[in-house]
């Protein structure tokens, strides 16, 4: 299988889907002539023309709303919102309109659109370019939310999202941008939305994570071996959530640690933790722990980013803590 970088996998997914279905189009700031602020749409405008791959003004709310209107009128638009934080500007159109179109029209309309947005975490971007807001989105009925940790999933999830008939928010990690991995060439390489991946099987504790944090969870698991046998679950899809996959793992290990790069309080990890505390209560042998940044804005310099975002040592400590207990 060919090796691609994470961003190349995204580029390939879009190229293939633009090729496959003339209804697919891409809208966003600098996505066209420039090929994307970070290169994800390189060469797409050349191939598919300036209407299907279209540069937009800096008008996130209207671009998302226009994508919605277009998706109700025969197109399958992909919108790029450059940084995750900027979703806040477009939140009304995403949540009050796009997410509710199928419901409000009793299914007569639907919104086969994708919003791609990039998480700046770990790239020195600071308080207004480094936030992780996946918890907001996953809280909205009518939306789907996915986040790949590997190039193959970056391709397969994005392709699934583009082919999905509902609005899907696809979050991409700038921290993984140059990460290489094997990516299937199959033009129908689809990673199903709503299915988690077990990245490392283990018996003692389940560590659930997504995006860039998955790799730290894996590093922690490696460090803990053979002392603790850690199962690392890459959620991939926050909404819908792979409840069965999650429960099966927690039932097996009896211990759960959730790791993410959004702040903890009222954050996405709380859903995972409380599902387990309800549905897997009898199996749980230790407190459910979340490893997250502190409740503060995102700092920019490397030493503070390191202190802020969960590191391998933090995960190791949390796992040790919950496995130390006999309960």
């Amino acid at each position: 299988m060919p090796q691609l970088k994470y961003w190349q996998a995204i580029n390939q997914a879009m190229a293939e889907e633009l090729e496959r279905d003339p209804a697919t189009c891409l809208l966003g700031e600098d996505v066209g002539a420039a090929g994307g602020a970070f290169g994800a749409s390189a060469k797409l405008q050349e191939r598919f023309g300036e209407w299907r791959v279209r540069d937009t003004p800096i008008s996130e709310a209207t671009i998302v709303g226009a994508a919605l209107g277009a998706s109700m009128s025969g197109l399958r638009p992909i919108v790029e919102v450059m940084f995750f934080d900027f979703m806040a500007v477009a939140m009304d159109q995403v949540v009050n309109q796009a997410a509710k179109i199928s419901f409000m029209s009793a299914g007569k309309y639907h919104a086969p659109m994708v919003v791609r947005t990039m998480a700046g975490t770990g790239r020195g971007t600071g308080p207004q370019h480094g936030q992780n807001l996946e918890g907001w989105l996953a809280h909205v009925p009518g939306l789907k939310v996915v986040w790949a940790s590997e190039p193959a999933d970056a391709k397969g999830l994005l392709k699934s999202a583009i082919r999905d008939d509902d609005p899907v928010v696809v979050i991409e990690s700038l921290a993984l941008w140059s990460r290489r991995g094997e990516v299937p060439e199959d033009p129908d390489h689809l990673v199903p939305i709503g299915r988690a991946a077990i990245r490392r099987a283990g018996r003692d504790v389940t560590v659930v994570s997504w995006g860039a944090a998955v790799h730290r969870a894996l590093a922690a698991a490696a460090e803990l071996e053979p002392e603790v046998d850690v199962e690392v679950v890459d959620l991939r899809s926050l909404s819908p959530l792979d409840r069965e996959g999650l429960f099966a793992s927690v039932e097996k290990t009896g211990r759960l640690v959730v790791v993410h790069e959004a702040v903890g309080s009222f954050g996405p990890g709380a859903e995972i933790a409380s599902l387990a505390a309800d549905e897997c209560f009898d199996a749980l042998r230790a407190p459910v722990r979340r490893v997250t940044p502190p409740f503060a804005p995102v700092p920019f310099p490397p030493q503070l980013e390191k202190a802020y975002f969960p590191q391998v040592t933090d995960i190791v400590a949390a796992v040790r803590d919950v496995t130390r207990r006999a309960a």
Partner: protein, 332 residues
Amino acid sequence: MTEWFASSDGEISSEQALDIYRVMLTIRSFESAAADLLAGGRLPGFLHLSIGQEGVAAGVCSALGPEDGITTTHRGHGHCIAKGGSVDRMMAELFGRGEGYCKGRSGSMHIMDADAGILGAHAIVGAGLPMAVGAAYSAKVRGERRVAVAFFGEGAVGEGVFHESLNLAALWSLPVVFVCENNRYAELSHVSMHLSAKHVADFGAPYGIPAATLDGNDVLAVASAARKAVGRARDGGGPTLLEFETYRWRGHFEGDPQRYRSRDEVASWQARDPVARFQERLEAGFAVDVAELDRIEREASTAVERAVEWAESLPPAPPTSLLEDVYRSGSA
């Protein structure tokens, strides 16, 4: 600019004129009935009525075909009826019945009908404009000759998406017509409290978008201006901004005590009733006889009465419908 939009005799045939009249009366019947039903405790929810503004809905939609799309607002019954929405299914929606457009779950502010090209009434002020722009973008990309119309109130000019939508439509020369119903009030506030521009149409100029402020209570003037704007859009000429001066006779919502305006002001606008004016015009200019007009009026009110009867007779939407259609594909 205003002159370019002016109506000329013979532009609208008698048949078209009678269709327009029927639409206006259907809107008025529908909303009057809804007002009574709400007052009588028979309807749940909230109602924002457009009585007094029927000329804009009927006039603009007379220029549209079924393939064209519209978006509208919390005050959208008129636009939906004029665009071909079914009064039966609208009434069922107001009643919260499963046969309504949203299976009785969303109510008066959220009528959508894919068959009639009603991309939806949206209750977030300004929210419909980007959608209409998107529908127009779709037409352009797909090489279809469809036009999209965004209806909105002058209050929506306060929201940034109005301006963003104008910019995008102009920049991409999209087949969209922006139709502002300037009814002088946004909720309980006069336009002077929320808008510093003299005319909403003034916002066309910076973008090079043709724009005009016209009498929204003269349905033929509306129809004529809409024909020009829609024709221009369909022929690839790009967007137009039409501002229609009009007035809502009822409160912002049914039950609004309306302390913010005088009875005199309301009366002065009622004297410019778009329905009555059009009636006179039909009799004089189109030589339609009164009996014909009466017949149309009766038919319109009968259709609404039947809709009420039917809708009310249906069972309330069942709780089982709550989770339906949240997702089109597999659910979360």
